[in-house]
Symmetry: C2
Subunit: 412 residues, 2 copies
């Protein structure tokens, strides 16, 4: 397959690629304690087994009353109610609130039977031992959180596919749901290729370089909720690569190969990936910088990604492809959009029409807001990204940005 027959816009490429994925998540499910489910993807919808709150609660410190007993009350013409007692926190009132009666209640405490409102302490005066003056009328329901006001039993409270945040952990536990079914983390095999690449812990000979991509990609996969499986460093040798990629394909949910940087090494990666099954390689070459020599495919139920060997290209393209792929095979539904930092460019940035450009920038505070300083490095070496705080995306219909323009920075 010759390289770059047609460069595909990244947005179109991603859509075509995702359409070729299996419709359903390909990972299994597991039951985990809710307290350990942070950031996991819920595999089943959750229905409330009981109301929340489970009883009427006071929303202020004050007196639980029948609202009608307070109508017309004012500081000059108070309503006088009989104080029947206090509802201790965590306990039930010993009696009901009948006509002309009141109970002292605390915020979060139970509102006794019969009462339908709470008058704030500030609007009352305890004059005699068993009597309280009400200085302001209360409407029915006032300062009371009704049972089921947050959640009613049988209500669908969480959908399958959401990623659990601190508030969902709390909501589930509030309902006594202490275990939840979540999707397993997708296993993402990462293989590095290149005769020049050696493990990071070895001392490279002249002409050799240490493996960067395996580890930057593993970190990215972990952040995205995947489970990276490092397949090691492979020589630029067809049969060896094929064997390793087939093994990865059989044992993981996504296969990622970072190709060597030369055209022949990239071509070998594409040929190997096209052997794994239907529909095979779908995209070979993106109209994007960095990251043009990207390969996207699907073999059976497993998405395939061939990344450029350049560490910056690999990381940028991984963010655009592997992250949504992990979400998709792992059952995660579309999430909230990522936030951006509005900043002012400090330098001109050239860009070719018809190409998506991603420019690393360093953010700096200024009295007028954030400044985005482009980090140029002619060869996209790894420290280009180390020096950067985020990226600016230049869409294909824009030919460059001028110093002083306002841009949206995607923080790393």
């Amino acid at each position: 397959m010759p390289e770059f027959l047609r460069l595909v816009p990244p947005k179109e490429a991603l859509a075509r690629w995702l359409r070729a994925f299996p419709a359903e998540p390909t990972v299994g499910r597991e039951l985990v304690p809710t307290t350990e489910a942070l950031d996991r993807v819920l595999a089943e919808p959750i229905t409330a087994p009981q109301p929340l709150p489970s009883f009427a609660r006071a929303n202020v410190d004050g007196y639980a009353v029948r609202a009608e007993d307070t109508y017309g009350a004012s500081a000059s013409l108070p309503a006088y109610l009989k104080l029947k007692g206090e509802v201790p926190m965590g306990e039930v009132a010993v009696g009901n609130v009948d006509r002309g009666q009141a109970y002292l209640v605390h915020t979060g405490g139970m509102v006794p039977q019969g009462a339908d409102a709470v008058v704030m302490l500030e609007d009352t005066q305890a004059v005699r031992q068993h009597e309280v003056e009400i200085h302001r009328p209360a409407a029915p329901g006032q300062n009371v959180i009704a049972a089921g006001e947050d959640v009613v039993p049988g209500e669908r409270i969480l959908e399958a596919g959401i990623r659990l945040r601190p508030q969902e952990i709390g909501g589930l536990l509030a309902l006594g749901i202490t275990r939840v079914s979540v999707y397993e983390r997708p296993k993402v095999s990462i293989l590095s290729t290149g005769d020049e690449v050696v493990p990071a812990e070895t001392d490279p000979s002249p002409g050799q370089v240490r493996d960067i991509n395996s580890h930057t990609l593993a970190a990215l996969v972990r952040r995205a909720g995947g489970d990276p499986l490092l397949g090691g460093i492979l020589p630029d040798h067809f049969e060896t690569l094929e064997k390793a990629v087939r093994a990865a394909h059989a044992s993981s949910h996504i296969v990622v190969v970072t190709a060597g940087s030369s055209a022949s090494a990239r071509d070998m990666t594409a040929r190997v990936l096209s052997l794994l099954g239907e529909p095979g390689v779908l995209i070979h070459g993106l109209s994007i910088k960095p990251g043009k020599p990207t390969i996207l495919g699907v073999a059976g139920r497993v998405p395939l990604v061939g990344l450029p060997g350049n560490p910056v290209s690999a990381l940028v393209i991984a963010g655009l492809t592997i992250v949504p792929a992990i979400a998709r095979v792992g059952g995660a539904k579309a999430a909230v959009p990522a936030g951006r930092v509005r900043a002012r460019l400090t330098g001109n940035v050239p860009s070719e029409a018809g190409r998506d450009d991603y420019i690393p920038v360093r953010l700096e505070a200024s009295p007028e807001g954030w400044l985005a300083e482009p980090v140029f490095g002619k060869s996209n070496l790894i420290f280009t990204l180390v020096r950067a705080d985020g990226m600016v995306h230049i869409p294909p219909d824009v030919t460059g940005l001028a110093a002083g323009e306002s841009v949206d920075v995607e923080p790393f």
Copy 2:
């Protein structure tokens, strides 16, 4: 100490509180493998032990040449160079490039001694077996990544206090740095109080509620890089609370107590926190909604936080106080600002002048961009936050927002 003598604006409160922290991080250090250091805070600056790249590399597939041999070359008047051989990936050229000579090199491969430029394959033609035509002149340095172009030996590449991202992991490993000294994760003790609160795994009796805050706060602490220590649920009993808080103070880097919701329970929390040491309680009451009954203090080297019992208030205030406190005691320097999502409000939102308001909103896509729908819940119950995708901050000098206004949403 009477409650709310003076409500302090949250920004001022945070600044006063952080000024009372020890100047240096209070956590220890540990040596961890670089491959496992994602999101950890670097404890020592890192200096490059060697150059990156460590040898001159070709940036394209082509011919390594002496630039001067190509001057004036064109397709109609090519320069003819003697092809001495090929530099295999990961290896050293067998000889030098002398005048009138060239070596075939691949992207990422070593540029042989004597060569100072690489001519792209597209600008050449291999006519005879040991000869290559050069159709375009190369400038010295063209298509060559010089040794040390990314990093020079002795260069300060990373500062102490940065949080390691995928690119830093890659950059460190590229230099052969396989272990790094990082700060330990700050231990954050979390104590829940309230006679009405029972553990999430128990069945509450009427009047009781399950503990939410311990778990939402633990999740938040984990996300912020801290190590939550759950101190359990304490009754509203002074001596019991004091004993538990003293034990937490002695064994953790930050102490958090979620107070009962009633005024007396909050007051008890403030009194206990003020016993732990100097300077003691610094702030009692913030001009913020939700979260007015917040307590901030420092005892010795340990920051103290008293949070409102309401789960939404607790989570909002924790984000504003515990997250920066974890960064500070844990040695993390100011990071990149969090991104925002620009959206259009779908409803009016009231706000009092002189108060910071945080409004939960749900984000919805529309053809005109994101819409932010306020999630109102009169009592800030936990599912208010479950239904929300982020928060809108209304600063104290703004009295409410109108439907249709453009707002910056802080995604959760």
